[in-house]
């Protein structure tokens, strides 16, 4: 378990934003997530794949008006993980001085 109860998969800023947006809705379209996170399609795909591999996100392709769209949604496990991650962040904020030593590793995972 990552330090302070933070979720290593959700921790990276782009994945945190993806989970935050998906937590408010059932599904969001790939293009919307790309626009709102401000990353390229390939970078977004990589982050979504990591979330999918962790069982946090499901990806679904749908053809509308002969155009294929990809929809992403948080799984129940993903919703629980995001809620726990936010709770852990709030705990860290409440004990702010103790949080000063938490750093980020090169792969985006949190560590002390």
């Amino acid at each position: 378990m990552p330090p302070h109860g933070l979720d290593a998969v959700i921790h990276a800023p782009v994945r945190l934003q993806i989970c935050a947006m998906l937590s408010a809705t059932d599904e969001a379209e790939f293009a919307l997530l790309r626009d709102e996170t401000g990353v390229s399609e390939s970078v977004l795909s990589k982050h979504l794949k990591q979330l999918e591999d962790a069982g946090y996100v499901t990806l679904r392709k749908a053809t509308v008006a002969s155009r294929q769209r990809t929809w992403a949604g948080l799984t129940r496990k993903g919703r629980a993980a995001f809620a726990a991650h936010v709770e852990a962040l709030n705990r860290l904020v409440r004990s702010e001085p103790a949080a000063a030593g938490v750093l980020e590793t090169p792969d985006g995972a949190p560590r002390r």
């Binding site: 921790h11 800023p13 945190l16 934003q17 989970c19 935050a20 947006m21 937590s23 408010a24 809705t25 059932d26 599904e27 969001a28 379209e29 293009a31 919307l32 709102e36 996170t37 509308v64 929809w71 949604g73 936010v86 962040l89 709030n90 860290l92 904020v93 702010e96 949080a99 000063a100 938490v102 750093l103 980020e104 590793t105 090169p106 949190p110």
Partner: protein
């Protein structure tokens, strides 16, 4: 790269992402009135005699489904009306009112032959549905803008 991790900043990033989504998810002005029209049509149809209950309900249900599809394509979002959260009491209350109106429409329209009752119930349902749709949209987006 080894950065200082700021939990406050992470929470702000997540909150800002949801707030941007809330701004983008606003329904167009025509959505609530058209949703009201479709819902009112369903309530009125079920109480009318002859072929109206089936034909009218199917047409209005397809209309409401098409309306949601347009909203979904426009916003790039999909959301369940029965989702948990602040919107759920509104959804359940709205359903109770609409089912009550449909019951009254069927009882007086089909059982007692008063055709004006389903039409009146449909008109009331249309107004209730339009306001409920707009209120649901506001509640949902307000929930998204809250600090995580």
């Amino acid at each position: 790269m080894t950065d200082d991790f700021e939990p406050r900043q992470a929470l702000a990033t997540a909150t800002a992402a949801r707030q941007r989504l809330a701004a983008r998810a606003a329904s167009p002005r025509w959505y609530a009135p058209l949703y009201g029209l479709g819902t009112g049509g369903i309530v009125a149809s079920v109480g009318l005699p002859g072929p109206w209950p089936v034909a009218g309900s199917v047409v209005c249900l397809l209309f409401v489904a098409a309306l949601y599809s347009v909203w979904k394509a426009k916003t790039g979002l999909s959301v369940n009306g029965y989702r948990r959260g602040r919107t759920l009491p509104l959804t359940l209350g709205f359903l109770a009112v609409i089912l009550g109106l449909a019951f009254v429409a069927v009882h007086f329209g089909r059982d007692e032959g008063k055709a004006w009752v389903p039409l009146a119930c449909g008109a009331v349902a249309a107004i209730v549905a339009a306001f409920a749709s707009a209120a649901w949209d506001r509640l949902w987006r307000a929930e998204m803008t809250e600090q995580l």
